[in-house]
C-alpha cells in the first residue's frame, strides 16, 4: 500500500489542472445549455400540442353540436314607408320570393303589387281581372310552397292566379322579374251560384285536379276541376264537378283542403271544426277545438304538406291538429300539441315552406316562431304596435310585417328548430302516425317530409347489441381469464395468450363480413344446432371432466395439472360437430322441418337473417379479448400470499378461487367488463355489416337493429354540412364519446385503486 502511495508520489508530477473555463469550452457549455433549454421547450410545446389536439375532439364535437340547442333570433331593420302604401288599399296577404329580393302584396282593391324588399320601391303593379262590379271579399292560398292564390269575390265567383319570379342576368347583373299568371284562365270560376259574396275560400291543386272551396255565411260550396291534356294534340279539356256536402249550421271561419284531396276541414262557430271526407262526401265528425268556452278561433293555417292544421285562439294559444286513427280504426281529428304565445288573440299564422315550423303574429304585435315536431317555442318578440299582416320568406329567414302604414322588415335566424330534447329522446307524435312513437327516419325524397330524429331507437339498438354481445362475451371471457391466470400451466399460458392477443388485433371489418356473409346465413340454416350447441357445450364439458376424474390414475397422472383446456379442445370440437350435424334432424323432429318458418309462423316473431343473435356472436367475439386481457391481469396479480394462505388452511383450489381470488380481483374484473361494454357500444363495422340496420325498438333476438355508431357511418356522408341532421349525427358521436370515455375512466380509476391495494398487501 505504502509502496503504491510512494510510487505514485514519486513517479508523477502533480496532476495538470485542466482549465474548464477556456473561451472555447465556455462557448461549448453555453451551446449545450441552450440546446438543453431548446429541447425542453420543444418537448413541452410539442407534447402539449399533441395532448391538446387530442382534447380538441371534445371541444370540436361540442362546438358543432351547440347550435342545435340555441333558439332563434330576430333582427329588426329600419321600417320602410314607401310612397305607394298610401293608396294601395288594405293588405290581404304578403308573400316573399326565394331570393329574398321581391315581395308581393295583394290588397282588397284587387291589386297585386310587387316591391323591392330592401328599399320598399314599387317594381310592378298588376290589376287582377275582376269582373265589373265585383270586389275582393276573401283570399286563400294553397299549401306552403305553392304559388297558387285564390280570391273570393263579392259576386260568388273566385279567381285563381299564380305569382312567379324569373331570374335573368342582363348585363351580368341578377334581375328578378315578377309576373302574375292565370293557370285556370282569366275568367273567374263561379263557386256560389246564388251570387253571395265568398267570405272564405281555399284551394288545393295537383297536376290534374284543382279543388276549390268557398263559403258564404254558412253555405259551403266545393268544386273540383279536372284538367286533362291530350298527349297527341296538346288540347286541354277541363271538367267541373260540384261536390255536394252536408250544409253548415254556423257561419264558416276558415276552410282547408287536404292536398291528397281526402279531407275538407271547415272551422266554424266559435271553436268547432267539421271534417268532411271528400271521397265519401260525408261528415267525418265535428270536433271542439277549444275547451275554454270564452275563447274562440282567430287564425289558422296548414303546415307544409297540408296534413296538420295549426289553429290560434283569442287567448294567445296555438294548437296542432291532424287526422289520426283511433284504436277502432276510424280517422279522427286529434289535438297533437299546444303552444302558448301570449295573451292577445292570434291574428295570423304562417307556416314555413321547407320545415314543419310556423310563425304567428298576435294582436299586440308580438311575433312568435315555433316548431311542431320538436314542440319548441323558439322565440316570442314584439315587432310592431297593433294589428298587422306579414309575409314569411320561403327559406323562413326574412319576414315583412305591414302595420300602421309601414313596412317592417325583419331578419329571422332560425337554423335548427327541429331539434329539441323531447324530439331526441321522448316519444313524438308524427304526422301520419296514430300515436306518439320513437322513430328515426332522417331523410326522404319529398320536400314536405317530417324528419324524425329520435335518438331513442338508436340508443336502444346500441344497448341491445351490446347486451347480447356481453351475454356471450362476459361469462366466456371472465371464465377464460380466471382459468388462464390461476389454473393453467405456465407453458400452455404462454401459448394461449398470443392467440387471444391475435383475436384482439383482428380487424372488425373481417368479423363483420364474416358475421354478415357466413354466420348469418349459416345460423339461419342451423338454428336448432346453434341453440343445442349453447346448451350442450357446458354439459359436454362437465361430462368430459367427470369421465376424466373416473379414469384410472395411471392415465390421469400422465396429463399434468393445468392442461384441462387442451383435453377439452377435442371434446368441444366433437360437441360442436354433433350439434350442427344433428341440426337438420332436430329441425325435422321438433319444428316441422323449418325452424325459421316455425319461429315466424308459430311463435309470431319476426325473423331477420341479420339479427341480434348474429351480432351478439360476432361482437361477443370482438369483445372477449378486451375483457379477457384486463380480467386476466387482475386475477394474475392477486398477491400469491393470499392464495397460498387459503390453500394452506385446507381450501380446495376452487374454493380459494371463488372465495379469495375472485373477491380480491372483482374490481378489476368489473373494470374489464366496463371496458368491454364501452367497446361493444362503440363498435361500428360489425353491427353495420351483421344487422339489417333497421332502427326498430324490439328486444327480439331475431330482429335487426341500428346502433348510433352504424347510423353515423351510414348517414354521415349524405348529410348536408351544417344542417340539423349533420349536427344530430355529431351529437350521437359526442354521446358515444362521452359514454365510452366515462366508462373507460371509471374502469381505469378502479384498476388504479386495486393496484394500490395489492401493493399494500
Amino acid at each position: 500500500m505504502n509502496d503504491l502511495a510512494n510510487s505514485t508520489m514519486t513517479t508523477t508530477s502533480p496532476p495538470k489542472r485542466i482549465d474548464f473555463n477556456t473561451p472555447e469550452l465556455q462557448r461549448k457549455r453555453r451551446i449545450r445549455a441552450l440546446k438543453d433549454r431548446l429541447t425542453r421547450w420543444y418537448v413541452l410545446v410539442g407534447g402539449l400540442a399533441v395532448l391538446g389536439a387530442i382534447t380538441l375532439i371534445f371541444f370540436f364535437l361540442a362546438y358543432v353540436v351547440a347550435p342545435l340547442f340555441q333558439g332563434a333570433s330576430l333582427t329588426r331593420e329600419d321600417a320602410l314607408t314607401p310612397a305607394w302604401i298610401q293608396d294601395a288599399g288594405k293588405p290581404l296577404m304578403i308573400s316573399l320570393e326565394e331570393q329574398n329580393q321581391v315581395a308581393m302584396r295583394v290588397s282588397d282593391k284587387g291589386q297585386a303589387l310587387f316591391f323591392d324588399i330592401t328599399t320598399g320601391a314599387e317594381l310592378k303593379r298588376v290589376d287582377l281581372p275582376l269582373p265589373a262590379g265585383a270586389s275582393v271579399a276573401s283570399i286563400g292560398e294553397d299549401q306552403p310552397g305553392s304559388p297558387l292564390v285564390v280570391l273570393g269575390l263579392s259576386n260568388g265567383q273566385s279567381l285563381v292566379f299564380r305569382h312567379t319570379y324569373k331570374v335573368s342576368y342582363p348585363d351580368g347583373k341578377k334581375t328578378i322579374s315578377p309576373a302574375i299568371e292565370y293557370p285556370y284562365g282569366e275568367t273567374p270560376i263561379v263557386l256560389d251560384d246564388a251570387g253571395r259574396p265568398l267570405e272564405h275560400v281555399a284551394l288545393t291543386a295537383t297536376d290534374s285536379t284543382l279543388v276549390l272551396a268557398g263559403s258564404a255565411g254558412s253555405f259551403l260550396n266545393v268544386l273540383s276541376l279536372s284538367r286533362e291534356e291530350n298527349m297527341m294534340t296538346g288540347e286541354v279539356t277541363s271538367e267541373q264537378q260540384r261536390i255536394e256536402l252536408p250544409q253548415m249550421t254556423e257561419p264558416v271561419k276558415a276552410i282547408f283542403i287536404d292536398p291528397r284531396q281526402q279531407w275538407l276541414y271547415v272551422i266554424n262557430g266559435r271553436a268547432l271544426a267539421d271534417v268532411f271526407s271528400l271521397r265519401d262526401k260525408n261528415l267525418n265528425g265535428r270536433y271542439k277545438l277549444l275547451e275554454d268556452g270564452n275563447a274562440e278561433i282567430t287564425a289558422s293555417t296548414q303546415l307544409v304538406g297540408g296534413i296538420s292544421l295549426i289553429v290560434g285562439n283569442s287567448k294567445g294559444g296555438l294548437a296542432q291538429w291532424f287526422m289520426a286513427r283511433d284504436p277502432d280504426g276510424e280517422q279522427r281529428l286529434k289535438q297533437i300539441r299546444t303552444f302558448q304565445m301570449g295573451t292577445s288573440p292570434i291574428v295570423e299564422i304562417s307556416a314555413e315552406e321547407r320545415r314543419k315550423g310556423f310563425t304567428a303574429l298576435d294582436a299586440s304585435g308580438q311575433f312568435g316562431v315555433f316548431h311542431s315536431t320538436a314542440h319548441r317555442t323558439l322565440l316570442v318578440d314584439p315587432v310592431v304596435d297593433g294589428l298587422g299582416v306579414y309575409g314569411l320568406s320561403p327559406r323562413a329567414n326574412r319576414v315583412i310585417v305591414e302595420a300602421g302604414g309601414k313596412l317592417q322588415p325583419l331578419l329571422l335566424d332560425n337554423p335548427h328548430p327541429e331539434v329539441s330534447w323531447s324530439a331526441l329522446w321522448s316519444k313524438v307524435w308524427y304526422e301520419n302516425y296514430d300515436e306518439p312513437k320513437y322513430v328515426w327516419q332522417s331523410t326522404a325524397a319529398n320536400t314536405d317530409f317530417e324528419p324524425k330524429m329520435s335518438l331513442a331507437p338508436l340508443t336502444f339498438g346500441t344497448l341491445k347489441a351490446a347486451f347480447y354481445a356481453m351475454l356471450l362475451a362476459a361469462p366466456l371471457a371472465v371464465a377464460a381469464a380466471i382459468y388462464t391466470a390461476y389454473f393453467m400451466a405456465p407453458s400452455l399460458r404462454r401459448k394461449v395468450k398470443p392467440v387471444i392477443e391475435l383475436m384482439e388485433a383482428m380487424p372488425t371489418v373481417i368479423l363483420g363480413f364474416f358475421a354478415g356473409l357466413f354466420l348469418a346465413p349459416y345460423v339461419e340454416g342451423h338454428l336448432p344446432g346453434i341453440f343445442s350447441l349453447l346448451m350442450l357445450l357446458p354439459i359436454g364439458i362437465l361430462v368430459a371432466g367427470f369421465v376424466f376424474s373416473r379414469l384410472p390414475e395411471s392415465i390421469r397422472l400422465r396429463v399434468p395439472d393445468g392442461w384441462e383446456s387442451a383435453i377439452l379442445i377435442p371434446v368441444i370440437l366433437f360437441v360442436g360437430w354433433l350439434s350442427l350435424y344433428m341440426s337438420p334432424y332436430l329441425e325435422t323432429w321438433f319444428f316441422g322441418g323449418d325452424m325459421r318458418m316455425w319461429i315466424s309462423h308459430d311463435l309470431g316473431i319476426t325473423y331477420d337473417q341479420r339479427n341480434a343473435l348474429v351480432v351478439g356472436l360476432a361482437m361477443g367475439f370482438a369483445v372477449i379479448p378486451n375483457i379477457y386481457s384486463i380480467a386476466e391481469d387482475a386475477v394474475f396479480s392477486v398477491p400469491r400470499g393470499l392464495t397460498l394462505g387459503s390453500l394452506a388452511l385446507g381450501a380446495t383450489p376452487w374454493q380459494t378461487m371463488t372465495r379469495v381470488v375472485i373477491l380480491t380481483a372483482s374490481p378489476g374484473i368489473f373494470s374489464a367488463l366496463m371496458i368491454g361494454m364501452g367497446r361493444a357500444v362503440g363498435e361500428t363495422m360489425i353491427v353495420l355489416m351483421a344487422t339489417g340496420n333497421t332502427p326498430v325498438m324490439e328486444m327480439n333476438l331475431f330482429e335487426g337493429l341500428r346502433t348510433l355508431a352504424a347510423n353515423v357511418a351510414v348517414e354521415m356522408p349524405e348529410s348536408e354540412v351544417g344542417g340539423s341532421h349533420y349536427r344530430v349525427l355529431f351529437l350521437s358521436a359526442l354521446v358515444l364519446l362521452l359514454f365510452t370515455f366515462i366508462m373507460n375512466t371509471l374502469a381505469e380509476l378502479i384498476r388504479q385503486r386495486l393496484r394500490k391495494k395489492y401493493s399494500s398487501l
Binding site: K35, T55, A477, G593, P625, W654
Partner: protein, 556 residues
Amino acid sequence: MKQNSLNGWFKSGAPGVWISGGAVSIAVIMTLGLLAVIAVRGLGHFWPADLIQANYNVPGQENHIVIGEVVQKEEVPRERLKSAGLPVPDAGPEFMTRELIKVGNRDLNGNDFTWIVGEWLKDQTTPKSLMTIERREWGNFYGTLVNVKQDGKVIAEGEAAWPELQARVDRVNALAAQLKTLEKSDIGAINAGLERIRLHGRKLELEGKLDAAAQADMEADRAELNARYQDIEARLADLHAQFNRDALTARDGNGKEIEIGIGKVVHAYQPNAMSTLTKIGFYFSKVWEFLSDDPREANTEGGIFPAIFGTVMMTLIMAMIVTPFGVLAAVYLREYAKQNTLTRVIRIAVNNLAGVPAIVYGVFGLGFFVYVLGGSVDRLFFAEALPAPTFGTPGLLWASLTLALLAVPVVIVATEEGLARIPRTVREGSLALGATKAETLWKIVLPMASPAMMTGMILAVARAAGEVAPLMLVGVVKLAPSLPVDGNYPYLHLDQKIMHLGFHIYDVGFQSPNVEAARPLVYATALLLVLVIATLNLSAVWIRNHLREKYKALDS
C-alpha cells in the same frame, strides 16, 4: 356409491375448473376456426375447379344441361325445399342435397349462380373439352370452343382451335397492357397538364395578372398538349382495332352458340384437362394476378392492387405523422412533466382515448380536418380551383391524419412504457457525468427506448390498417380512378381519394350487385388483411419480448 362420487366431484369444485378451462378452449377454437375458414375459402378461390356437365331434370319441367363449378353442397330437410316452392315429391328420404353451382354465362342466363337439387342432377361427367373463359365483362363463360375467327373469318376449328385461341389471348393481353399504359399514363399526363394550365390561368385571372402574353403562352402550351393528344388518340384507335380483331365462337351446355371477342377474354383454360402440376402453376399465377391487378366488373373480379397500394400509402403517411408526435408527447409526460395529479389525469385520458369508438374519430376528421382545415387550405392556397374543392373534400391526407389521431394514444402508451422501463440509474449515471438533460435524452434514453417506440409504431400501424369505420367518412372510396402516386406533378397526390383493403371487404361484400360472385374475392382480401395485421402484431410481440430480455440484464 356412484351418486356419492358425483356429488363429491361437484363439491370439490372441479366442475368450475373444467368449465372455465372450457371457456379458454372455446375462445381459442373460435379464433383459430375463424382464421381457418377465412384461409380455406380465401385460398380455395384461386384453384381452377373442375367443371361438371350434367342433366338437370326438375320434375314437371324440361330437361336441360348444366355446366359449371360446384361451389357448395349441403343437406337440407325435404320440408324446407318444399316450403321454398320446389316440386319435391312427398315420399322419399328426409333429407335432400342442395348444391350451389356457378354456371357463369351471365349474358345468356341472367345470373352466375344457381341452386339445384342434387337428386335431380343426373349423368354427371367432367369432359376434358369444357373450358372456362374469364371475361372482362359478364363474368365467366363455361362451355366448349367451336372456332376462332379473325376479322370475321374462321381461322381454326375443332382440335386446332384451342392452341390458336391461347396464342391469341396472349397477344390480346399484351395489347391490353399497351392500351393501359397509353390510356392511364400518357393521356393521364396530358390531362394533368391541361388541368395545370387551366388552374394557372385562373390563378393569374384572380390575381389580375392575366395579360395577353400569359394567355398566348398558355395557348401555346395547350396547343402542344392537344397535338400530343391527337397523336396518342390515333395510336389508341389503331390499337383498339387490333385488339378487337379476333373472336371466338363458343357453345354453352344447351347448344346455344355465342361469339365472344377475344379482346374481352382475360384467360381461357380447360380445367378438366389440366394436370395437378399445371393447376398449381396456374394457382400461383392467379394469386399473383390477384395481388397485382386492377379490379374488374365493379370490384367483383380481378385484383386488388389499388386497395393494397392505398392501404400501404395511407398507413405509411400515418406512421410518419404519428411516430414523432406520439414519442414527443410520451417524452413530455414521462421525462419533463411534473409527476402530479394533472399528469396522472392526462395519462388516464390518453389511455382512454385508445378506447374511444373509431367512428368518433371519423366524425371529427370529417368535420374538422376536411371541412374546417381543408376548407381553409382551399381558400388560401387553391383558390383557383374553387368551387371544386382540392383539400376541402375527403382524401388521402385527411384519412392519414384521422388515423394518426386515432393511433397516437397507442404510440404514447407504448413509448411511455418503454421509457418507464429504463432504470433510473442509467439516467442518473449520465447526468452525474455532466451530460445535460437533453443529451441524456438524446444519447441514452431515446436509443434505449427505441424498441418500445418501434413496438408502439407497429401496433399503431396494425390498428390503423384494420380500421375502416372512420375511413368511410374521410377519404376511402370503392373505386379510385387513379393511384395516389403517379408520374404527374406533384407525384404524390395527398388530396386524392384512395381505395382500402378493409373498405374493399365491406363494399364488395355488402354493396356489390353480385355478392355471390364477389364472395371468394372478399375471403381472399380478408385473408390478406388478416395476414398483414397478424404479421405486424406478432412482430410487435417479438420486439417486446426481445426488449424484456435486454433489460433484464440492466435491472439486476
